[in-house]
Amino acid sequence: MKVRLEWFTIRPEKPPHPLAVGLSYLMVFGVLAIVFQVAFVRLQYDWNWSVLGEYRTLFLHGWGTTLGLSVASLGLSLLLGVGLALAGQSRWLPLRSFHRLTVEVIRGTPLLVQILIFFYVVADAYGIQNRYVVGVLTLSLFSAAYIAEIVRAGIESVGASQWESARAIGMSDPQIYRHIVFPQAMRRALPPLAGQFVSLIKDSSLLSMIGIAEFTKNARDVNSLTFSTLESYLPLAIGYLVLTLPISWWTQRLERSLHFET
């Protein structure tokens, strides 16, 4: 059997064969592997993978901490983000001002500065001792500002004719949000939301600034103890992928099941 090029061409009328998809991934993966293999050979790098075994508890602890921080911040930021987006749609002007100001300030300043100010100024003044709590709060607020904009765009994408149809049925505004606007807005917000969640997971590494022993910090520690740079940071990359890839897969599946446009 001869491999033919047209197997790998996408045609509108017919989705590609799963085998072609798999083969295609394999080819790309192979090419990348060769490129990096050549690079490493030229580098004449002395691998020392025993580092991984030796410091595995440090890696695992760090990964677990990052997972915990991410899950907590993901949930909280979604809640805060939707709340903030609703504040921006409110008929009450101060709520709108609050939304605008929060979004602009948070998006316009570095997360690093926010973390430091929150931890050393705000949390201290209000007696929040637990650095993990402060970390999750800061990260959630930061991400919420972006999520609010994503959700707002989704809400605004639901047209006036949908509102009118729903009002004609006799639905109240809260019912319209719940049954008509949110489901449609969510579908359109899913791809950018997935991107935001992935950023959130990676941004959690900045929490090492306030002494949280998360994944990146621990990998950095291993590196400075062993001087095995790649053996410390490659597992780090893979550890983050293990967290971020499922988000992409899950949202893509959700997108398909919520599909309602041609």
Binding site: Q162, A168, I169, G170, M171, Q175, H179, F260
Partner: protein, 243 residues
């Protein structure tokens, strides 16, 4: 239906769409609005549907004035059914769920009852095999029939249809007009905006002709089509009946 307009005006900015109009009909089953586009047909329909408020005047349907207070207004809207020209259906819900929604969310029906009622109604509209499809999987005519089913599912006191066939090709138009005709013979009261003059003539008990500024002429289809009084009605009919 009994419908009364007393000194009703509506304008958008400088544009006086309906100016101090008074008119009343009693015990008509089907009221059809015709007239040139921009003449205010949709505006009048939305006023009666409680989706727009007039600047002044009052509207009474079946003896009750359209309430002013928000909750009462919402209940008033819930007692009607409205079908628009296009984009009626909720795209994220299946045909059946579209029809169920008013029952479960607004009229306090149980899930099971709503399911049964919606299924039976869709069956009747020859949509039985399409219940589980989402709007994007349906043809334009099927979509409008689902929209009519949704507007009827709670047995409204009046069904309002705003050019339900204007976005459809002739064959689908036929499907939808058949359904409206059936409703008429079943005694559903409706108010219809249409450009299908033949259908208007056949189905209407009463016709209102609207052009800039309000209702220019009203009456039975026979008088309005055969002996139009106002010059603007005559001009309009000449133009639309030419071909």
């Amino acid at each position: 239906m009994d419908l009364l307009l007393h000194q009703v005006s509506k304008r958008f900015g400088q544009n006086q769409v309906i100016g101090a109009t008074s008119i009343a009909v009693e015990e008509v089953r089907s009221l059809v609005l015709i007239g040139p586009s921009g003449g205010g047909k949709s505006t009048l329909l939305r006023l009666v549907a409680g989706l727009l408020r007039p600047e002044s005047g009052k509207i009474e349907l079946n003896g009750g004035a359209i309430p002013d207070e928000a909750d009462a207004r919402r209940r008033y809207r819930a007692s009607l059914g409205v079908v628009f020209q296009a984009f009626n259906l909720f795209p994220h819900l299946s045909a059946r769920d579209n029809v169920k929604l008013p029952l479960t969310v607004v009229h306090g029906c149980s899930e099971d009852d709503a399911h049964e009622i919606a299924t039976a109604l869709l069956e009747r509209f020859r949509l039985g095999s399409h219940e589980d499809k989402r709007p994007y999987e349906l043809s334009g005519g099927q979509r409008q029939r689902v929209a009519i089913a949704r507007a009827l599912v709670h047995r409204p006191q009046l069904l309002l249809l705003d050019e339900p066939t204007s976005a459809l090709d002739p064959e689908m138009t036929g499907e939808v007009l058949d359904v409206i005709q059936e409703l008429k013979s079943e005694g559903v009261d409706f108010m219809l905006v249409t450009h299908e003059m033949g259908f208007a003539r056949e189905v209407a008990d009463e016709i209102w002709f609207l052009a800039e500024g309000g209702i220019k002429e009203s009456g039975s289809p026979e008088t309005l089509f055969n002996r139009p009084q106002s010059p603007s009605t005559q001009r309009f009919l000449e133009r639309v009946l030419k071909y």
